[in-house]
């Protein structure tokens, strides 16, 4: 195609688009559509939580009181900070600053690992305290079976969230490799922007999980 404008003759430009800008808008829109399916995916769990908490408010308050609040608060701060470093990574990518981009991607990955480490510590503590649903589950007799529902939801919701974090770390590793290879430039920063959308979404899920799982009925005890 000899009459293609110079700006469009880019290694990663796909021929069906009018311009790189058009290509970027379409790929970002695709990610937003995926995130909508994710909203509904997590929405089902939040809905189940709402119904059971409405039925067993006292048991949910008692079970939530067993959560390690400092760990949940610390992890909220860690994830918010990782969202900042992710936003700054996207910013650096758009400016074509390769070293800054790589630095912020690494910072985001380190914070993601800290989050998962704290989460693993919490899971271990809950395992030792016999709060994992199943035959070994122990809780004050009055609420035992209902608290088990809370802990089932807790492990499903935070587990699914943690799985998203692990996938996010994988995506960031690929992005780091692309940045290192020099594939990411100011003109072609959309892989970083799309990964950023995913990372921020996972942060938003935690913003809702934190008060709903860790802070129910704190004032009662």
């Amino acid at each position: 195609m000899p009459d293609r404008p110079a700006a469009v003759a880019h290694d990663h430009f796909a021929h069906q688009f009018e311009s790189l800008e058009h290509q970027k808008e379409v790929s970002l829109l695709g990610m937003w559509v995926f995130l909508v399916t994710e909203i509904l995916f997590f929405g089902g769990l939040f809905l189940t939580y709402t119904v059971y908490r409405h039925w067993y408010p006292a048991a949910f308050a008692a079970a939530s009181h067993e959560m390690i609040v400092w760990a949940g608060t610390l992890n909220t701060v860690v994830l918010i900070t990782s969202s900042l470093t992710m936003a700054l990574a996207v910013n650096a990518a758009q400016e074509g600053q390769r070293r800054t981009l790589m630095m912020f991607l690494i910072a985001t990955m380190v914070l993601g690992c800290v989050f998962l480490g704290v989460k693993a510590f919490e899971y271990y503590t809950e395992y030792v305290e016999r709060h994992v649903p199943g035959p070994g589950f122990q809780f004050e007799a009055e609420y035992a079976s209902q608290a088990q529902i809370f802990f089932s939801l807790y492990f499903m919701m935070t587990g699914l969230h943690a799985l998203h974090m692990i996938i996010g770390l994988g995506i960031m590793a690929v992005m780091l490799w692309l940045a290192w290879r020099g594939t990411i430039t100011a003109e072609y920063a959309s892989p970083i922007e799309i990964s950023g959308l995913y990372w921020h979404f996972v942060d938003i899920v935690w913003i809702f999980l934190f008060p709903l799982l860790y802070l129910v009925g704190r004032h009662v005890h």
Partner: protein, 95 residues
């Protein structure tokens, strides 16, 4: 372009600080007995935080209108999921 990016960076730091303050508030307010308001305040702060992340960190504010339609459609369907189910489960005790 680079001044645009510098302005974005400043807004990221501002949003980050607001998010930290909101996290502190959510955490502290949970220890006060506000009755049913405890949950509403916690969810209100969470929705505010999520809105900031979507608008600034995820650039929704400066995104094409088509992106807005997708976001609003997603929230609308989430609304259907929550409201229709809640209209059954949360009203069973009313009879």
């Amino acid at each position: 372009m680079s001044t645009d990016h510098a302005a974005s960076r400043r807004s990221y730091y501002t949003v980050f600080l607001v998010l930290l303050v909101c996290t502190f508030l959510t955490w502290q307010v949970a220890y006060f007995d506000l009755g049913p308001l405890n949950t509403l305040v916690a969810l209100g702060i969470a929705i505010f935080k999520a809105t900031l992340v979507v608008l600034i960190f995820m650039h929704a504010r400066s995104s094409p209108r088509l992106t807005w339609i997708v976001i609003i459609a997603g929230l609308f369907w989430l609304g259907i999921l929550l409201v229709l189910t809640a209209s059954d489960y949360l009203t069973r005790t009313w009879i």
